[in-house]
């Protein structure tokens, strides 16, 4: 009788493990897709950041919107700040 009970328990354990493997497969796939999507989003954001901070664009905005002009000789002073 004990042998039968042990067999049944082991069989249930194996079945449960197989179900868990399958469930884990779904979860891994979901997480993998999420990483994939975030990777794509990050790539898009990197491109957007590069576009927005392009020196040409910033120069144009500085001139057109803010009326800024390039510094005249001597107007830029390099200073050293102690950390």
């Amino acid at each position: 009788m004990t042998f039968v009970i042990v067999d049944v328990v082991l069989a249930l354990l194996l079945v449960w493990m197989n179900l868990m493997v399958q469930d884990l497969g779904y979860r891994i796939e979901y997480t993998s897709s999420l990483i994939d999507r975030l990777d794509h989003e990050q790539t898009e954001l990197v491109a957007e950041h590069a576009r927005l901070t392009s020196p040409d664009r910033l120069r144009r905005l500085a001139a057109d919107r803010l009326g800024l002009v390039p510094p005249r000789p001597g107007q830029v002073r390099a200073v050293y700040v102690e950390p």
Partner: protein
């Protein structure tokens, strides 16, 4: 048997039957999942699993500061498979909304276009693609694709290049490192369940499959500066085209490589090949007088002349094998530095003759002329310099002042960098590092020297001579920058045409470096066929000056302040409390305590000193103390605190 006993017996029977049923069920599950699990799994997989080849996204191209110059993004295409599609009138409305297309045209396509496969849109973003998938219309396919994007537009376009519709590198670094950037396709074994949901992705890994990332030596800010100033001068001088190359002479790194006219790689097919050519490496020109420093350097290094030697410049005219050689201005007797300063062709010819054909040829080859520099961009040409054995007397004469030899802008920049780098030639390069998807370094370029071309002392002497070119009486006063030692050489060459040299078409150039006493930047400017003026000192030198001026500020190269006698109009600034009058710096340290940082800096205008600042607010302590003399390059320290306001 009592009724209670009967009930107990029946319950035992039912319990036994349930146990048997459960045991049978477990045995069956055990058989399906464990004993026959592999076989059944294999059968299921052959039905529900399939291999899917996934091409890699092209890797990114970055500038030296990590800014993206080229990147590939997910994109989608939407198409109709006629065989599986059944027309319904509402489809046109739904798809037109999702794809932002015109409804009636789309309806006509869906209803009556006879082709088996019809593209509805080739560029669809993720949200629209997901929206169309949710519609679940049979025969409407959403196909994943990639879109190559160059976020800076035309910035660095000739160096970066572009990739074609099949994601193949066509020009520039995209072409040179196509194999690395393109990456490897991967095969994924994807299993779906009965609902079509993926539950297993064998060989899969999270994230995008992407090619290698390429990090360039190009600095986007300097590149933008070079392109802007070049385009401005091309327009002002009504010139055909031009190039600018900026190098770090200490390492050989190319910081900028600009060409005009240019193109936008996002729309490369809208431009002709003449706009897409990287002229700095593909176009050769006769350098003219920019060649003279190398002739002089060779002659000094070979010991055939000394800087104090005097040459008779024949009052502006002499003949070699019957051919006339002229100077722009007549000169009589000049020393070697003066020959460079005023750019005498005749005296350069005499120096070339003293050096001799064989040695001149060897020196020019050693400086990197007539061979590709290997900078790393495709299409680089060698330029032309015939073997010395083929030279006649007139060839030696012509080559001595930069005619009868052709060079590229990158060759000229590298040769000037050799003089700036104490006579040691560094190999130029544009690709600093290539890393794969895992971050492993595939290529890493370190500064590489090709060896010494001329002695350090000779390089120093030639640098001093080139500094005279920028000073009073030199040919490039317009290249000067107040407070900074600049060295360079102008070039004004007549272009060749059938039968000889043109009297109308010119090529103006300027090759220089700064600061002359510790060169950080080599800048070469080439302007092809300017029509307003043609002298290198008028056409190319101002471009050098403007780029150099802004580059020094950008690179924080220390230089003494310039007294602003004609201040530019400024936007109104908030008025800050400034206790005490601001004095003019007279060589002694003024009293700065209580002043704002702005006022303190203004009080030090005219002081060629390095300022160190600690804290923020108003000056509460200073070093040196007021009244103490301050010498050149002395360190001045301010301590600032907000408490001073109160």
């Amino acid at each position: 048997m009592s009724s209670r006993s009967k009930l107990g017996f029946r319950l035992k029977i039912v319990g036994l039957l349930c146990a048997c049923g459960a045991a049978a069920l477990v045995m069956r599950m055990y058989r399906l999942t464990v004993i026959e699990g592999d076989k059944l799994s294999h059968q299921a997989r052959s039905i529900n699993c399939r291999d899917s080849v996934e091409t890699a996204y092209r890797g990114q191209i970055l500038d030296r500061n990590g800014g993206a110059l080229a990147t590939s993004m997910q994109s989608f295409q939407v198409a109709v498979r006629r065989g599986d599609y059944v027309y319904a009138p509402e489809h046109a409305t739904l798809l037109a909304d999702a794809l932002a297309l015109e409804r009636s045209a789309l309806d006509k396509t869906l209803r009556s276009d006879p082709r088996k496969f019809i593209w509805l849109s080739r560029r669809v973003d993720t949200d629209a693609a997901n929206g169309i998938r949710r519609l679940r219309i049979a025969g409407i396919d959403v196909i994943e694709d990639q879109l190559r994007s160059y976020p800076h537009g035309s910035l660095g376009a000739h160096v970066i290049g572009f990739s074609g519709v099949d994601e193949q590198g066509m020009e520039g670094i995209e072409k040179a490192l196509d194999e690395e950037i393109r990456g490897e396709p991967i095969t994924r074994n994807i299993c779906k369940d009965a609902r079509g949901q993926v539950w297993l992705d064998r060989n899969g890994f999270p994230g995008m499959n992407r090619g290698a990332t390429v990090e360039l030596t190009i600095d986007a800010t300097l590149q933008s500066l070079a392109e802007t100033e070049l385009a401005r001068q091309i327009e002002e001088m009504d010139a055909d085209s031009g190039s600018v190359v900026i190098l770090d002479p200490r390492t050989g790194e190319v910081l900028a490589m600009a060409n005009a006219p240019t193109f936008d790689p996002n729309r490369y097919s809208a431009y002709g090949p003449e706009r897409r050519r990287n002229r700095a490496v593909t176009d050769t020109f006769e350098p003219g007088s920019t060649m003279k420093p190398f002739v002089v350097a060779g002659a000094l290094d070979a010991g055939v002349i000394r800087t104090t030697d005097r040459f008779d410049c024949e009052n502006g005219m002499m003949r070699v094998q019957g051919w006339p050689i002229r100077d722009h201005h007549p000169h009589k007797i000049l020393t070697v530095p003066e020959i460079i300063q005023v750019s005498s062709n005749i005296c350069s010819v005499k120096i070339g003759e003293k050096l001799g054909a064989d040695r001149l040829y060897d020196y020019l080859k050693s400086f990197g002329f007539a061979r590709p520099t290997g900078v790393g961009t495709p299409g680089e040409v060698s330029g032309k310099l015939d073997a010395a054995s083929k030279w006649k007397e007139i060839n030696l004469a012509n080559i001595s002042f930069g005619h009868g030899v052709t060079v590229t802008a990158i060759q000229l920049a590298t040769a000037v960098a050799t003089l700036a780098n104490d006579g040691v030639r560094m190999l130029p390069y544009v690709v600093r590092r290539v890393t794969d998807l895992d971050g492993d370094v595939l290529q890493y370029r370190v500064p590489e020297s090709e060896g010494r071309v001329v002695s350090s002392a000779v390089a120093q002497k030639v640098r001093d001579m080139m500094e005279l070119v920028i000073g009073p009486g030199g040919t490039a006063e317009r290249a000067g920058i107040a407070g900074v030692r600049v060295a360079g050489k102008t070039g004004t060459a007549q272009k060749t045409e059938a039968g000889g040299y043109s009297k109308e078409h010119w090529l103006s150039s300027f090759a220089g470096f700064l600061p002359a006493d510790d060169p950080r930047l080599v800048i070469v400017v080439v302007i092809d066929e300017p029509r307003e003026h043609h002298y290198g000192g008028v056409v190319a030198a101002p471009v050098f000056q403007r780029i150099a001026e802004a580059s020094l500020d950008y690179l924080h190269v220390h230089r003494p302040p310039v007294v602003d006698t004609d201040p530019a109009p400024r936007l109104p600034l908030p008025v800050l409390p400034e206790p005490g009058p601001v004095t003019v710096f007279d060589g002694t340290m003024p009293e700065l305590k209580g002043l704002s940082l702005r006022a303190a800096m203004r009080a030090l205008d005219g002081c060629d000193c390095a300022v160190e600042i600690a804290g923020a607010g108003y000056v509460v302590a200073q070093q040196p103390e007021p009244g103490v003399g301050v010498s050149r390059d002395e360190k001045v320290t301010f301590t600032l605190a907000r408490a001073a306001i109160e």
